[in-house]
């Protein structure tokens, strides 16, 4: 027992006292934050103003486009879309990007151009020439029959790939034409706006106990939890693999085996690294809770009504339990692989198998988020190998009955017992084999013999 604790302490310190641990611990929240903020930052970088010519033979549309693109109007829009982003946490990335585009408020310089009585072909030729001469950046041709179903608004630009600018102009044009149509049909625009406002669609999930749960934010939180477990299992599994191979390669294993029992050494390693993983996860979760708390306080101060899923202490405990189950399942497999192979490269090839299971578990968590009560969600959240990722996600999305959680813990616990039994047998022989990789029949013999 004393030696076992010595191994645990050694393995724990080996990871936690390294600067890479500190870096990873700090980096994950930073990366997560960056993931949320960087796209917004990128799109908020303003390009140079676009010099544009609008050819409008009717003369009706241009003033409206100009008005839509005016500073005051843009500012108002930006303000509005900011509010919307705050409310709409679950908006898709695509939507968010558009919103961000609105926020940036593209600027346009309108260049005067006397179209007079020139033909469309002549106008196009002249303006295209201006673009190639870099006098202007783009031109838009408003057809005289702007209201006809087949009316075509032609837009030519030096930088047609600039989605942000283009979609901005497109919206402004659309709005302008719509306003003109409304004016033509004698409909008051403000009245229409008032009548076509969105309903307040408040989403509330009711779980099987009949409790109400606010739906917003659940998905994001469940996704983050799934991702966190997935990444931690992946990183710490690889740590185990590397550590086992190092001891085998350097023949430290031989010294260790002459000092303590192989089983003590293997379990000590698993527990030590597991505790290191738990430490990291605890830091992440606590900092996440604090950050969310601060964010929430800020938002309610700003008058935005938002709720996050109620994370009870029990949820956190479940979360750690399933992390540990997952850790021991995957770490044991990695230890087994490490004791069979001779080099890290070889180990990497074999490690594809557990990684595959992890990825399946991760993708399955999307299914679980979307429909936590489906049959599929039930099976994947009790299945060994998958449950450590899918069950916490499911608990967060919608807590299943207790017996399902208990069953999941039981099944995964049994899987661990079996894997440890298996790995212990392979470990004690494999760690002393040098020079060549153990073949499957050999491994099978070790398992049967002892």
């Amino acid at each position: 027992m004393k030696k076992f604790l010595a191994v645990v302490k050694h393995e724990y310190k080996k990871i936690v006292l390294k600067w890479t641990f500190l870096l990873a611990t700090l980096l994950f929240p930073v990366l997560a934050a960056a993931f949320a903020v960087v796209p917004a930052l990128i799109f908020s970088i303003k390009g140079e103003p676009t010099r544009i010519v609008i050819v409008d033979q009717t003369g009706k549309i241009t003033p409206r486009i100009k008005e839509n693109l005016s500073k005051e109007k843009t500012a108002k829009k930006v303000e509005k879309s900011r509010e919307e982003t705050l409310k709409d946490l679950t908006a898709s990335r695509d939507e968010q990007m558009k919103n961000v585009a609105e926020q940036t408020g593209e600027t346009f310089n309108f260049v005067e151009y006397g179209a007079d009585a020139k033909s469309i072909e002549q106008i196009k030729r002249e303006l295209t020439g201006k673009i190639t001469d870099k006098e202007i950046d783009a031109y838009l041709i408003v057809p005289p029959n702007y209201d006809a179903p087949d009316a075509k608004f032609e837009f030519f630009s030096r930088k047609a790939g600039d989605i942000v600018t283009n979609s901005f102009l497109e919206r402004a044009t659309n709005n302008a034409v719509r306003s003109q149509r409304l004016a033509d049909a004698n409909i008051e625009e403000d009245k229409l706006k008032d009548l076509s406002r969105n309903v307040d669609f408040s989403k509330t999930t009711i779980n099987e106990k009949g409790d109400e749960k606010n739906g917003e934010g659940i998905f994001a939180a469940a996704f983050i939890i799934g991702l966190m477990i997935y990444i931690t299992l992946l990183i710490y599994g690889q740590q185990i693999l590397a550590a086992v191979i190092e001891e085998k390669e350097t023949r430290i294993a031989e010294i260790l085996f002459s000092s303590a029992k192989p089983f003590e050494l293997m379990m000590g390693k698993l527990v030590g690294v597991g505790l290191a993983g738990l430490t990291q996860l605890a830091i992440w979760i606590i900092s996440a809770l604090v950050l969310v708390g601060i964010g929430l306080a800020n938002m309610s101060a700003a008058g935005v009504d938002i709720s996050i899923p109620d994370i009870t202490p029990l949820t956190v405990i479940y979360f750690f339990i399933f992390f540990l189950l997952g850790f021991f399942i995957y770490a044991t497999i990695y230890a087994l692989i490490g004791s069979m192979v001779t080099t890290v490269q070889e180990g990497g090839q074999f490690a594809m198998l557990p990684i595959m299971f992890l990825i399946i578990g991760f993708y399955m968590s999307f299914t679980v988020i979307r429909d936590p009560n489906s049959n599929l969600s039930f099976w994947v959240s009790i299945a060994p190998f998958l449950a450590p990722i899918t069950m916490p996600v499911r608990i967060l999305a919608e807590t299943p009955p207790f017996w399902q959680i208990a069953l999941s813990i039981l099944l995964n616990g049994a899987a661990i017992a079996f894997l440890v039994w298996l790995a212990a047998r392979v470990y004690r022989v494999g760690m002393l084999m040098y020079g060549k990789r153990a073949t499957i029949p050999e491994v099978w013999k070790w398992i049967r013999q002892s």
Binding site: A6, V7, H10, T250, E254, I255, F257, S258, K445
Partner: protein
């Protein structure tokens, strides 16, 4: 009590791996306070035997007694084992690794720290205490490995090729350290291919080949038992005497002297007398023992 004089007793030990027999009916004793040479060519079964002694693997047949009892956790703590071609944790500080190895032998950290300081000082590596293994030269890390073997003050040291890769100065230094440990009453099992080193260090030896014991006993016994009387001779004249087959069985020419192998039952004194009687001028006449190297080659080839 047997512990007083016998540290290790190996009795009729065998180990098989499937069809392959690694060790076959091997018996020997290692006496306390002596340096025991465990010799044999590659693949003879040395490593397997050592692994059984340190309790990493169990023998299929026979028994091994350490300090008068079967191998246990307690007896494991009294052994210091230095495997062949071992390494260290790459990214760990010297001090931390040594502490870990000591902890695995149930040495308290305070005690371990004291001994680490002592041994690093003895090895002249004190300034490397806080350095990582990757900063050490090969010779230095071998010395650190040696320190990890003796840190828990073991009564039995098992050193498998401890000097390979060391420069001659360091080999001499390490031999000195081993001699000190012997003087402290430690028992040392020393496994090597280097017969010259074994000859210098060992009190007793065992030679194994193809899983079996070939010869064993004290160095003197083994050499006498080899039964070859060799004489180094530098002389002018007397060649007729050397052609007498009842006296000389073989002559090999060296640079400026000849190595004479005496015939069975021939006496060196008799040969010397006959040479003088025949008017030979003798500048060197020396009875030489067979070298361990010669015994090794002869015995291993002979089977």
């Amino acid at each position: 009590m047997s512990e007083q004089n016998t540290t290790l007793r190996v009795e009729n030990v065998s180990k098989h791996y499937g069809e392959f027999t690694a060790v076959s009916d091997l018996s020997f004793d290692v006496k306390a306070g002596r340096v025991f040479g465990f010799l044999g060519p590659n693949g003879a079964g040395k490593t397997t035997t050592i692994r059984m002694i340190v309790g990493i693997i169990a023998p299929d047949e026979g028994k091994i007694e350490l300090f008068g009892e079967r191998i246990s956790n307690a007896s494991q703590n009294r052994i210091g084992y230095l495997p062949e071609e071992r390494g260290l944790y790459k990214k760990m500080k010297v001090q931390d690794q040594l502490r870990y190895f000591a902890a695995l032998k149930d040495v308290s950290q305070a005690e371990a720290d004291k001994r680490i300081d002592f041994w690093l000082d003895r090895m002249k590596l004190s300034e490397w205490k806080k350095k990582k293994t990757t900063d050490l030269s090969k010779g230095m890390s071998q010395k650190i490995q040696f320190v990890s073997t003796v840190l828990h003050n073991p009564d039995l040291l098992i050193l498998d090729e401890p000097f390979s890769g060391l420069d001659p100065v360091n080999v001499e230094f390490m031999i000195e350290v081993v001699a000190e440990l012997k003087a402290q009453g430690k028992t040392i099992i020393f496994s090597t291919h280097l017969m010259s080193t074994a000859e210098r260090l060992c009190d007793d030896i065992i030679l194994i080949n193809k899983s079996r014991k070939v010869v064993g006993g004290s160095l003197r016994e083994v050499k006498e038992g080899f039964g070859k009387n060799l004489i180094a001779l530098r002389s002018i004249g007397g060649d007729a005497v050397l052609e007498d087959k009842s006296l000389v069985s073989k002559i090999s020419e060296h640079a400026d002297e000849r190595e004479i192998e005496l015939a069975e039952n021939a006496d060196a004194q008799n040969l010397l007398k006959r040479l003088i009687e025949n008017g030979a001028t003798i500048s060197k006449f020396e009875q030489i023992e067979p070298s361990l190297n010669a015994i090794f080659i002869e015995k291993v080839k002979g089977i």
